[in-house]
Symmetry: D2
Subunit: 365 residues, 4 copies
């Protein structure tokens, strides 16, 4: 059983409610000897942090991470790394009603049905604030992978109806700066402006909008992924589908492959510089669930955020009658820009884990 | 680590190579006291079996299951249930070349890269024949769920460019017969004919075609799914994405939700006959990763099968040079019709497991 | 893989080095709705805390626990419970040599061989200070079990050559006070004095002494334990043998049963007040790995602590030559009195977990 | 949850009831490329097989193993290895009463309480016949370890009151032949005769007798075992304590260490031929839960077998009254000689698993 933990060897256990004392995680199984600094983790948290632009929630959180264990003289010990981020802006006055008036589109009702006793403040553990722990853990996975040249980059591919055709190419330089240079985190800077407008438009209408994040993993070695149930596609699918707000995932040609012929989607093999290669990478780096050394490409669909300002029908669980709710609190009209580092974190965690499972990364480096 | 096993409490370990002595599985954790007969399992295997129509491979396998343990007087003992299906048609003469000439689009190359020593006969363990074990195990999960009124139905939603708009509605009668009445296993019988033609056309061209399978789970109780990593969406996504040939999965409005507004995708709540309900089930039965009691709807994209008769470029790993391959052997021009029971099996396994994890099904019934 | 985590459903992940910032744990899988206070946890930590008497180390630690998550209005949420104890007395000046002069009898050398990069301060993660996390987690397990009348009591049975014949009987009153009333935590108060003298004598000689802890679990319901590998005996054996300094474990008649005849060790059955019962409980509450409702009795052997003041031979790993070490630092001449709550914690964790695995405790209470 | 499976990477799932169609196992996670023959497995099964001498049960089983998957051209594929042994002598006429008259000292009653529906024939899954699967799996682990020079040898150390002082020394030659040369499998051939007499004496009296098995693992590399819960001692303790009939386990000086002083039980370090070594190996090869390269020594206590011919008190669960039972069926007056290969199998499984967990054995060899 895993519940709040993820991974086999590189294993992460997150904790924390949105308006509790703290959120964080314990990373177990990271090899000994890896150079990691608090700044490595802080840097990733900054990207997820609220209040970065007018497109995101105004909740004021500095999200300062504190490393309680697992590091000594700047290197991992091979022991559990406990990371804690205290919640500072815990004003939950706006959330009082949630305890008995579940917000439509949120997890309030299902959590109540499942657990009975819940923390309504800011959505409690069901809040996307739990992804702080994922991003912190992902930062360590990223650092570990970087030592082996594996590099994971995610970016916004679509916001509402605005789509961008561009996909990351391994030859591109400075992509990270490019992506961080615009508030929606698009790779395609020309589309970024229209995407931002889509968000602003929704926000003004008291509404919200969804989007697609594309994620590319470069320099992944051959042989990751375990037949038959733990295929790399299956593992990645689970990882990203555990992120709040996701509705679908696809690899390479994805749903479009359905209407193609086999001859239009099979990667034929050729020797190229002594290595077996294919021309089109239709398989997006994974064949039969095992990585083949080419870039892995996946896309994740996020629905429009459930927190909208419009008045909505809901029920009063105490009075057992229909009522209305106008959700206050601080929220994002589009979660996609802030979900980009979360997608990266999950993919980094899966790849770090499978690098260790396959023995490509030893227990001590 | 799991590799060839799946599930937490209701746990399945499959085994077997395509042209080895047998394929099968061990089901561990099934409650004691459940009525199961060999025929229950055999019935599901018949649906997956090759040679059912001109749309499928001509490999001759009767797929007779043998129950080695775990049943006594027609009831489960709560001990491991070992299920074995001997491979009868093991003519692998057509597969000799595969050992050094990997078939494009197949897992031959990545398995070779990962394991070094492989069984080339019929693709060995990478063959979709491993799904025999899944279907056998799924039959037991189905029987277990039936006792609790949970019912999972899958059907072909799209083949190639032919799509059907129809989705299973809980009020429908006789759907199983309807689906089994046409060789593509479509719910929409009028579309079924065009779908079949799409397959035949591809087959005649020595090519292949993909498709989409939709799966609906009815009467799933509230409260299944574990935050935060083992959300029901995440678990189901992994389950179906571990099936050979899959390229994507989506829930409810899926990728389409991206271009909708929040107000078009949020399920508002109302009391209906004393129960909290929503009108549209946009969330497709799962909110915040936890089931809400409404029908769960998911769709899985299958790429065109990799086995086509056309001559393809590949490499000779012995001579280390480019060459061609014309794949012999018996294969399906479209895997979708036979994948329908496999999708059902995986969804049944996930739901049975989560029914037990959540305590809705006890260890002894 | 588990490493620093323990349990299946009721699962604990501990973290922290002896002289790092903090030690602690995350408890995942505890049911929602359980009343737990910080004081419940603090109370158990007090029993493990150093500096309780002249028999224990003089390290000054208040061991104040802080609950970062998982509780709301005094009840568990069903979400991870993060517990942190900051290390206050971090004077590690005495431990500098350990980095290259491994202490005989300690884990210094094997950790160095395994991880390469280690934290020598106070033994780092290999210090028995890691058991703070176990005791904190065990306190929650204890609270959970108490709700179901299950009660676990451990006490010192032997110190050095001083053995006590007394075993806890379910009819005894006030046993906890009795045990806590003497510094060795013996049930047999008359033997306690001689035991304490044994410790003092060893301490004065710059030496150390071992002991046996007996642990009794009362009111354990029938049916706990999973055949065939996860027998309750096997699970308990692993749990207690993971405690630092243990050398053996036995159940009921234990090693003595070897020289008995079957007829002297088989519990014959009789009806007693409508329930099947036995007279002698030779099986110590577990038959075929499954609890039978009678008291569970186990004994754990602790070797003499490895930290003695006597000068010892060791090696200098830098200079690669033989040398001597006179261990400074603060340590216990006999770990047994402080290990009593640790044994209880581990047994509580196993029983809580198996109560949940077997469905005797639901996910929400 | 694991129930009938054991191990993390090298993982074994056993199945089968004593008088069902078959017993066996699936070994998952064994590296690809290992040479294994059916004879390697059969050889170990012969040692466990009933009917080897007058000291063991007369049940007639040839225990022929059949390898259903995972091997190709005499080498492992890295895929699951399914091993099946059909039960031939299924005469269960003697066991009819067990269904409602539980045998004292057996698991009949606790299984009934736990599972409700049980297979009474020969004890069903609770019979020690389930160890066939363990021994078959252990044979593969043994083969794998042999490639890395790791060698595990177990032998009978005590039967009833007859104890032998001899312990395996790494310099001994031909120990396996020595052990197999006498029916009790003692290392000490002079003691073997007295041990055999102890068994015969008990048998004649319609009684049974227990014993101690000692197990030594040679050439185990440094660094196996995972802090803090998966210490090598803890893992081995669980492994052997899952064997039917066990009552205790101890390592090295074990329970005797309790009455020693620290200075009598601490291994001081010295350089010996450039390697850090100790003189006495008091720690028995494991320090702080991690192997140090020296021989691992453990002892397992087996109680007298529960099947005795004497008439015993028991209850009639149908009539709900006290009654008597005189157990028929075929059984061993002392299980120890046949348990020797089972102890070896479990230790081999743990070591193979930890060799893989620590990366000492890769996924492909």
């Amino acid at each position: 059983m895993r519940m709040n933990s993820f991974g086999r060897i590189f294993r992460v256990n997150t904790f924390g409610e949105s308006h509790g004392l703290a959120v964080g995680c314990v990373v177990d199984g990271c090899p000994a000897g890896l150079k990691v600094s608090e700044q490595d983790i802080q840097g990733e948290l900054e990207r997820r942090r609220p209040g970065q632009s007018e497109l995101t929630t105004s909740r004021a959180e500095l999200d300062r991470v504190r490393v309680l264990s697992g590091l000594y003289h700047g290197r991992t010990l091979g022991t559990p790394i406990a990371l804690v981020v205290e919640n500072e802006d815990r004003d939950s006055s706006k959330y009082r009603e949630i305890g008995y008036k579940p917000r439509p589109g949120h997890a309030d009702l299902t959590w109540k049905l499942k657990f009975g006793h819940v923390d309504p403040r800011g959505g409690g553990r069901a809040s996307a604030r739990e992804t702080v722990g994922r991003v912190a853990a992902g930062a360590i996975a990223k650092k570990l992978l970087a030592k082996y040249k594996v590099c994971v980059v995610a970016y916004t591919k679509q916001v509402g109806k605005v789509e961008s055709g561009e996909t990351l190419d391994s030859s591109m330089k400075g992509v990270t700066d490019l992506i961080e240079s615009n508030p929606v985190r698009a790779l395609d800077v020309s589309a970024a402006k229209a995407m931002a407008e889509e968000v602003v438009k929704a926000k003004k209408a008291g509404d919200s909008v969804g989007g697609v994040i594309e994620c590319v993993a470069l320099n992944v070695p051959e042989g990751l992924g375990e037949p038959v149930f733990d295929k790399l596609t299956a593992e990645l699918a689970k990882a990203v589908m555990s992120i709040p707000g996701t509705r679908g995932v696809e690899f390479g040609q994805g749903f479009e492959s359905v209407s193609l012929l086999g001859s239009q989607s099979i990667d034929e093999y050729f020797y190229e510089a002594g290595k077996v290669s294919s021309k089109n990478n239709y398989a997006a780096g994974i064949q039969g669930g095992i990585s083949n050394g080419m870039p892995i490409v996946l896309r994740v669909a996020f629905k429009p955020t459930a927190s909208i300002s419009k008045r909505q029908h809901t029920v009063d669980l105490n009075l057992k009658k229909n009522t209305y709710l106008q959700v206050g609190g601080r929220h994002d009209p589009c979660i996609v820009p802030r979900a980009v580092p979360v997608v990266e974190a999950m993919v980094n965690m899966v790849l770090a884990d499978h690098m260790m499972i396959s023995g490509k990364i030893p227990r001590r480096i």
